[in-house]
């Protein structure tokens, strides 16, 4: 079940030495009404509000694991 982008930003300032720019998305989960997920967005273009997304998990800052969202592809 796809998530839906609620909002996003593209970050251009390197706060911790990370390569920039990168986009971050806040995603509504179709099956949960009152929580969202925030993560990186990977795609050829900037994300858009309302876009459907899929998720995978990758290593993030500080040894943590973070969600990485990609465009939802219908099979």
């Amino acid at each position: 079940m796809p998530g839906v982008v609620y909002s996003f930003t593209t970050n251009y300032n390197s706060w911790d030495g990370s390569e920039v720019p990168y986009s971050l998305v806040v995603v509504d989960l179709s099956h949960a009404s009152d929580i969202r997920m925030i993560g990186l967005y990977e795609g050829p273009d900037e994300p858009t509000i309302g876009q459907q997304v899929d998720v995978k998990f990758e290593p993030g800052p500080g040894g943590l694991t973070r969600p990485v969202f990609t465009a939802w592809e219908t099979v």
Partner: protein, 395 residues
């Protein structure tokens, strides 16, 4: 008659502002002692009259270098105060938690004259480096910021940007309208001798500045400074002995939603909406009575949120409200951020707004003075924390 029958309106009797600037060669303790001594003298009191002391944030986790001022015990000892009431606190009604608790303490009779201070040295701590992310010393994996930091949303600029983006999407708010906040604040800063930025800012300058986190660019973000603001909060029964005072008519301290930026149900609103609603519940005054507004601007979008939260325009209309800059100006019926805000005046973390409100109500704002200034509103905080104050000139 106030809707809050037991709120024995406390007053602010003195204001002290230390030197404020970029990379000051002064310790956090020195700035604090300076501001406190000025505040006590301004109230016409001696340090021996002070029986309450409070600060935000006190001893807690330091989110940025220079975020913490001296802690409460350190200042009690430095000044040799004998206290009946004291507190240092971070969790509560944003950067005013200690101020509002002090107001409640004098109102309830726990002490008579409380000094409350906020000191920041984020500029000297930053040095000549670029501004870092939150928790640059290692991301906290607990608490309400954990998921943001894990995702790489390391700066409040990222979090605020997502609110701005959503506001733009739902209401058609434009980048230029955000720009009018920055320009309006800069226009006031030109008349504020304490302000950090004293050069004019044009819309071209604004639009051509580098992007930080879309849609926010450099001039949408506040500028770190070093400095301390201290006030004396006094009990209502001390008013006959005071030479001047500002009355704390009502306060807003509400917290009604999840304390996570990313889970906030409607990201075209912030905690400011709850705080403002709570503040208006405690008074018979209304928006029409307000002569000026000092509205937090850690990022430009926060000021737009506060304008809507306080009901100065309808939901979604803050962009058009600020367009052209007239609403900000001294010519308008309710000028906004007359000291230049944190965008141009400097990031005193909310307390610059309070200092300006007090100066305005006492007619001490010089070239920035709002005529017939009797009622002022101060709204502090962004995202999931907020506090607001409704202040009236003492009489």
């Amino acid at each position: 008659v106030s809707a809050r029958a037991n709120w024995r309106r406390p007053v602010i009797s003195g204001l002290g502002v230390s030197e404020i600037g970029r990379r000051l060669d002064q310790s956090s303790q020195q700035l604090t002692v300076d501001a406190i001594r000025m505040a006590v003298a301004d109230a016409g009191l001696q340090l021996t009259d002070i029986d309450g002391l409070a600060t935000y944030p006190g001893l807690t986790v330091s989110l940025n270098p220079g975020f913490l001022g001296p802690d409460l015990y350190e200042m009690q000892d430095t000044l040799g105060l004998e206290l009946n009431w004291h507190m240092g606190a971070y969790q509560g009604a944003a950067q005013f938690v200690a101020l509002i608790e002090a107001a409640a303490a004098v109102s309830a009779g726990l002490c008579r004259h409380a000094v409350v201070f906020r000191t920041t040295t984020e500029s000297q701590a930053q040095g000549r480096a670029r501004r870092g992310g939150i928790g640059s010393g290692g991301a906290p994996t607990e608490g309400n910021l954990a998921w943001l930091l894990a995702a790489g949303a390391l700066s409040p600029a990222n979090w605020a940007a997502m609110y701005a983006q959503r506001h733009m999407r739902e209401f058609g708010t434009t980048k230029e309208q955000l720009g009018w906040v920055a320009l309006g604040h800069r226009e006031h800063a030109l008349r504020n001798p304490r302000a950090v930025f004293k050069d004019p800012l044009s819309m071209d300058d604004y639009l051509n500045s580098r992007l930080i986190s879309s849609p926010l660019s450099l001039f949408d973000c506040d500028i770190p400074v070093d400095g301390c603001v201290a006030v004396v909060v006094s009990a209502p029964e001390t008013v006959p002995d005071l030479s001047h005072f500002v009355t704390i008519e009502s306060v807003g301290t509400a917290m009604r939603h999840k304390p996570y930026w990313e889970h906030w149900p409607d990201m075209t609103t912030m905690a400011s909406h709850d705080a403002a609603h709570h503040m208006w519940q405690g008074t018979d005054l209304t928006q029409a009575d307000v002569d000026f507004a000092q509205l937090y601007d850690g990022f430009s979008i926060f000021t737009l949120m506060w304008i809507e939260a306080l009901g100065f325009c309808a939901r979604g209309e803050a962009g058009p409200y600020v367009e052209g800059g007239f609403r900000h100006s001294l010519a308008s019926a309710m000028p906004i951020n007359t000291w230049g805000g944190q965008l141009s005046g400097g990031r005193l973390h909310g307390w610059g707004f309070l200092a300006e409100a007090i100066d305005q109500l006492w007619g001490r704002a010089g070239d920035r003075q709002v005529m017939n200034s009797e009622v002022g509103v101060v709204g502090i905080g962004g995202g999931v924390v907020a506090a607001s104050l409704l202040l009236t000139a003492g009489r």
